[in-house]
Structure formats: C-alpha cells, structure tokens
Amino acid sequence: MPEPAAALWPPVPPSVIERPPERVAGPTPADGWPLAEPMPMGPDTLAALEGLVRALCPAPPAPWSQDLGARVALGARVFLRYLPPVLGRGFFLLVHTGDLAPIWRLRGLYRLRDMERDAADALLQRLSHSRLKLLRLMVMAARAAVLSVYYDQPEVHDAMGYRPLPFIQQRADLRRRLLDGAVPTDADRVGPSVEVTP
C-alpha cells in the first residue's frame, strides 16, 4: 500500500468522536458551526405537525413518549430551514392539508390531530396510494421529514440494537493504533455479528 504524503493527512487521527448524542440534540453544536434555529410556527401549525408526527411514528411497544414526539417535531422544524425557502413554506401547506385530510376525504368534521392514532396512520397510508401524484408526494415528503428524525433518536436506535458510537470509537482507536505501527490481529476484524441486546 502506498504511503500517503504526510502533509495530506492530519498528523494525529481523531481518537474522540466529538458529537455524542447529548451534544447533537442541542440546536447549537459547539464545533463552531451551529445548526439552524427551528422554523417558527404558530400554535395551530405546531399542533397540526404534532398530529402528523403521531400518525406517522409507531405506537408502543416501539419507543414513544410525549417528549420523543416533541423532539421529532422540533427536529422536523430545524430540518425545514435547510430546504429551499419555497419548499420550506410548502411544508406548512402540507402540514395543514394533511391535518384537514379527514374533512376533504369526507371522513367527518374533525382533523387528523383529533383522530385515533391507528385511524390517522391508516388514512395517511391510503393517501400514499392515491391516484393523484401530488398527494402521494405529499405523504412521501411528510414521511421523509418526520421519520428521518424519529429513526435518528438514541432510544429508537437502542430499541433496534443499533449502537454506532461505541463501534465508531473502537474503529477510530484501531486506526490510530495501525497508524502507530501496530499489527492487526484477528480480534480487530469486524464481526461476525451477534445480536445486540437492547
């Protein structure tokens, strides 16, 4: 293997992952580059978003709590800042359109946020199979904004047996040892995998 020019690589590889989950969760990471502030939302839009979050995220026994739901909604609002502005504003429309879906689908005079969770879930699932492409895209966008945040939460990772930080830390330590001239052993190989017990 060719030796890289020393100047091209940091002389000391990082041995500490600076972003443990408790620091990622905050709105302003301390590495000099803050995450955007959450998109401001009025109380009605926020309630509609929280209804959408509840309809899209799984119910217990999957991880779920009011606090988790609030964090997912907050994460979705931060995410909106990174969209092109027109799409970010379009998401507001999407949230209200989804919230009013029971009315325009002629299910009754109530909103998605007022529905039982399973019924709201089923309604959105049906919308995702609509013959109207716009409706299918609407559900797709809502899923992407909400579920990418839900499936990024530490308790959800734990419940799935996905614990990336210790693994990454171990591989970073191994790389540092290899750069220091250590000879790898069988113990340094990845796997074979065993089930991680939550």
């Binding site: 293997m1 060719p2 890289p4 100047a7 091209l8 690589w9 590889p13 990082p14 992952i17 600076e18 972003r19 990622v24 990471p29 590495d31 580059w33 995450l35 955007a36 309809a55 995220c57 799984p58 119910a59 999957a62 994460g75 931060v78 800042r81 990174y82 969209l83 092109p84 027109v86 799409l87 879930d121 699932q125 995702s128 492409k133 895209l137 899923r143 992407a144 990418s148 945040v149 499936y151 990024d152 419940a159 799935m160 996905y162 990336p164 693994f167 990454i168 970073a172 191994l174 790389r175 750069l179 790898p184 340094d188 190989r189 990845v190 796997g191 995998s193 065993v194 089930e195 991680v196």
Partner: protein
C-alpha cells in the same frame, strides 16, 4: 485561511488570481494545483467547514450540515429520482463511499472518438489518473474492515458463479466504521476535505465558506469573477453581498448547479448543449432480510461490486445506510415500518446500478431553483427488473428469508418463484423507487464549439476567463463511480490554467 459567515461584512470584496466555486472532487484539486503553483486562489463553498472529529452517525445533524437541501433534491420525471449532493467543504466527496474506479477503457475510447482528441483517451488521461490514485491512496480495503453484509454479497455472488470484484477506494487504513455517507469520523476516507483542501490551504489559498454564488461578473465580454451572498447558518437566510474578482473563474458545482449558474447568463449558445446530456446512473435498492444478525452498519460500505452483468450496464453493490435514511425512503410508515426497522440488524441493503441509456436535461426552474429532468426508458426499466430479480434471487438462495423490492406492484419476495413476473411491471415507470448520487454530463467538453460547451481544458467556448471543472464535462456516462475521473480532469484543468495564468503574469 477559512472564512465563515461572521467574517463577512456588508459589501465584502475579495480579489484573487483565480476563484474556484465548489470544493468537491471537481474544485479542490484544481484549487490545490493553482495554489501550489504560487497563484492567489479563493475557494468558495456554499456549505460550512466541518472537521473530521465533528462527523457522527446522527442524520439530524449530519444531513443538515453536509447535504444540499437536507437531502430532499429530486430529478423530475417518471419516476421522480431523489439524489444527494454534498454541501460542505469537501463537497460530495465527504458524503460518498469513496469508491475509486478508473473510467473503463471503452468509455475513454468513445470520448476520444466523440471529441476527436486522444487527450481524453485512456493514454491521454493516464498521468492524471495515476496522480489522483496516488494523491488519494486508492487501494482495496484491509480485510479487517469487512462486515457480514460484505461477506454475504461476496458469498452470494460466488454461489451464483458471478464475477465479484473488490472495490478500490480512496482511503488509507480504513477500519470499516461505515459512516461514509455522514462524513468519515476516522479521517481514513481521502475526501478532498483531508487531501486537496489542506494542500490548497497550506499553499496559501483562502476558503470562503457559507457563501452562495448567484451570478458571474461579466465585463467586456469576459468573466471577471463571481458575486453572491453569505448564508447565516442560524436562519439559513442570505445576508451580506460577497464579491470575488479574479483573472480566472472555475465553476465546479456539480452537474446540476453548474449549468444552473451558467444558464442564468444565457451561456452555452454556440451548441445549445448547456444543461443537456444530463446523465445520472439511476439505481434501485434491494433490501434482503436474513434470519441471522448481519449488522450491516458494521464494516466497510461497498467492499465489492458484482460485475457479472457489466456488459448489460448493470452493477450490484452492498451499501448499508443509517436507519434514518433507510426509514425515510420506505413506502410505508407507522407500525408496519417499525416491524421492518426493528430487524435493522438483519438487513443487507444492495443497489442495482444501471448505466444510462438516455439523457435528461437541467433547466432553470421557477424561483431560482435548478430543475433537473430525466425520463427513465423502457429499456432501463427492463434492466431494473432484471437486476432486482437477479439480486433478490442471489440473496434468497444465499439464505435470506425475505427480500424487499423497489416496485410498487411487487414489494416483497420470500422465495425465488415470487420473482416471476417482475418483467410485467416495466410499463409502470412511476411505480419504481430509484435513487442516484452520480450526476454528470451537462456542460460536455469537446473539440468544437458546435457540439460542446467547453473545450478539452474546461474553458467555456463563449465566455473567456470562465472554466468548468466537474462531472458536467463528461461527454457520456462512465458506468462506474465518477470521483477519480472528475479529479483527473480537475488536475488537468488546474495545470493548464496555472500555466496560462503564470505566463500572463510573466508577460
């Protein structure tokens, strides 16, 4: 020196010999070459500068910081094709898998034929390709970095008697932490963030981050630099105007943003090719569930590729992604999605990558947005159906209990017989889930202004002083991961531009 939003005052104005817009595979090498030649260089990046030690597996932070538009970009057409582009110092090289393949020789022969120049043939590009491989330590993975998903793909291919080649990757002592798509937290992946960017900075280049370039400065019929606005990282709003005046301007924003910027000035008129010839290597995902734990998130991403069907323009590779990315792409939600995601440790995610048989186009869309368009052809749909069926069969015969397919009309198979009839789905183009990261071809280079946008050095035919240096230059699709080819062209453009600028300075 790295500059960020708080460093810009209203009306900030810089001057340099050369400004390079973009810091990925197309921009960073040219920036390094120019700076090392003694020229005053400013690299401009729309995203922020993030150190290796700040990379982590959390999408809510990583995708926001590293990926354009939070990963919501999509190519319009049938079907809609989501794509991702890097938006950070290092560009897409920070969030790709680091796969480093030379362009196949027949492709370069075709480039030489199309352009009428051996300069872009296999022999012509050899020095730059070799230099890129040395600069980015291209090599196969250490065996210790292999995970079970890598092993299952290899054993599955062996069981079928298929050709399985080890990938060569831009990495040095990669230990397989599999966080490539959210930034390499060990520094092993040789993205431009840890290769060409430090070289450029060491040679005195400045890197102006958090600046969105909105237009070229055109004076007297020649390009005199770029103008844009700083981006407030807290609100994402555009704030102070920033202007960079330069003797040479290199646009390296990728095959979507580069034509978008240039089309705003009505450029590319001689051939009308600017924005056309859009190529994207679409791929479909096949998700296999094994009864035993696999932990595909442990071990290198894409150890190898199944190249048995290369002649048909089909490649297979394993490519595990974090749960947030996987979940957000599934066609269901709620309890049904949880039932799937709770088996995350049993998954092997593979991609069926299809070489383009058609081209699309990048237009300037409404409200200042780029609008890439592409229509998948019936021939491509046949290849997706064939590729997905082959990969699904491979997994099922290798012990998988279930395979999830990318077709709305057929989502799952638990035995090989279930795969019968996939070909019947090929007429329903809206019902296939595709994805891409390889965007190419929208400012094709050539030897004549009548059929190309730039010359073979990336210089725009109709705007002196303005160069393109990214995958936009490709005359055709290359059928493999494009990073090495982009970097090779970028080095060439850098050397030739440096010679020119130094000669002008001497004169």
């Amino acid at each position: 020196m790295i500059l960020a939003h708080d460093d810009y005052a209203s009306g900030t104005r810089f001057e340099a010999d050369a400004v390079v817009v973009g810091t990925g595979a197309g921009g960073a090498p040219v920036g390094a070459v120019l700076a090392e030649a003694g020229l005053d260089v400013i690299l401009v990046e729309e995203g922020g500068y993030h150190r290796t030690s700040s990379f982590n597996p959390y999408a809510r932070e990583s995708v926001a910081r590293l990926v354009r538009d939070g990963g919501t970009s999509a190519i319009q057409g049938r079907p809609l094709i989501p794509f991702v582009e890097g938006r950070c110092v290092g560009g897409s090289t920070v969030i790709n898998g680091g796969m480093s393949w030379r362009p196949p020789e027949p492709v370069l022969q075709e480039w030489a034929r199309l352009t009428g120049s051996p300069e872009v043939g296999a022999a012509g590009l050899e020095p730059e390709l070799a230099q890129v491989e040395a600069d980015t330590a291209v090599a196969p993975q250490l065996d210790l970095s292999l995970g079970d998903d890598n092993r299952l793909m290899a054993s599955g291919a062996a069981r079928q008697g298929w050709r399985h080649d080890k990938n060569t990757r831009g990495q040095y002592l990669c230990t397989g932490c599999n966080n490539c798509v959210m930034g390499c937290p060990t520094g092993a992946k040789t993205s431009t963030l840890v290769t060409y960017i430090p070289r450029a900075l060491d040679a005195g280049a400045r890197c102006a981050t958090e600046v969105r370039v909105e237009r070229l400065l055109i004076e007297g019929g020649a390009c005199a630099g770029v103008a844009g606005r700083a981006i407030d990282p807290r609100t994402r709003r555009l704030t102070h105007p920033v202007q960079i005046r330069s003797r040479a301007t290199v646009i390296a924003c990728g095959a979507v943003q580069t034509p978008h910027l240039l089309l705003g000035h009505g450029l590319g008129r001689p051939s009308g090719q600017l924005g056309r010839n859009f190529l994207c290597h679409p791929n479909a995902k096949v998700l296999a569930l094994y009864p035993q734990p696999v932990c595909g998130w442990q071990g290198v991403s894409q150890w190898g590729q199944v190249r048995e069907f290369r002649d048909e323009g089909i490649l297979f590779a394993e490519n595990m992604v974090p749960p947030s990315a996987l979940a957000s792409l599934q066609p269901f939600h709620g309890q049904r999605l949880w039932s799937l995601m709770s088996r995350y440790n049993h998954m092997v995610l593979g991609g069926v990558l299809v070489e383009d048989s058609t081209t699309g186009r990048v237009l300037r869309g409404p409200l200042g947005m780029a609008l890439p368009t592409y229509q998948v052809t019936p021939f491509d749909m046949h290849r997706f159906a064939r590729g997905a069926a082959l990969m699904a069969r491979m997994h099922l015969e290798n012990g998988a209990s279930e395979v999830l397919l990318p077709f709305a009309g057929k989502r799952s198979a638990t035995k090989v017989d279930d795969l019968d009839g996939l070909e019947r789905l090929v007429d329903r183009r809206d019902d296939v889930d595709l994805f891409t990261v390889h965007l190419m071809g929208t400012a094709r280079m050539g030897a004549r202004p009548e059929d190309s946008v730039t010359d073979l050095c990336g210089r725009l035919w109709d705007l002196p002083g303005c160069y393109v240096s990214d995958a936009s230059l490709f005359p055709t699709a290359i059928g493999v991961n494009p990073q090495v080819t982009i970097m090779a062209l970028s080095l060439r453009i850098g050397h030739r531009l440096a010679d020119r600028l130094l000669a002008e300075r001497g004169a």
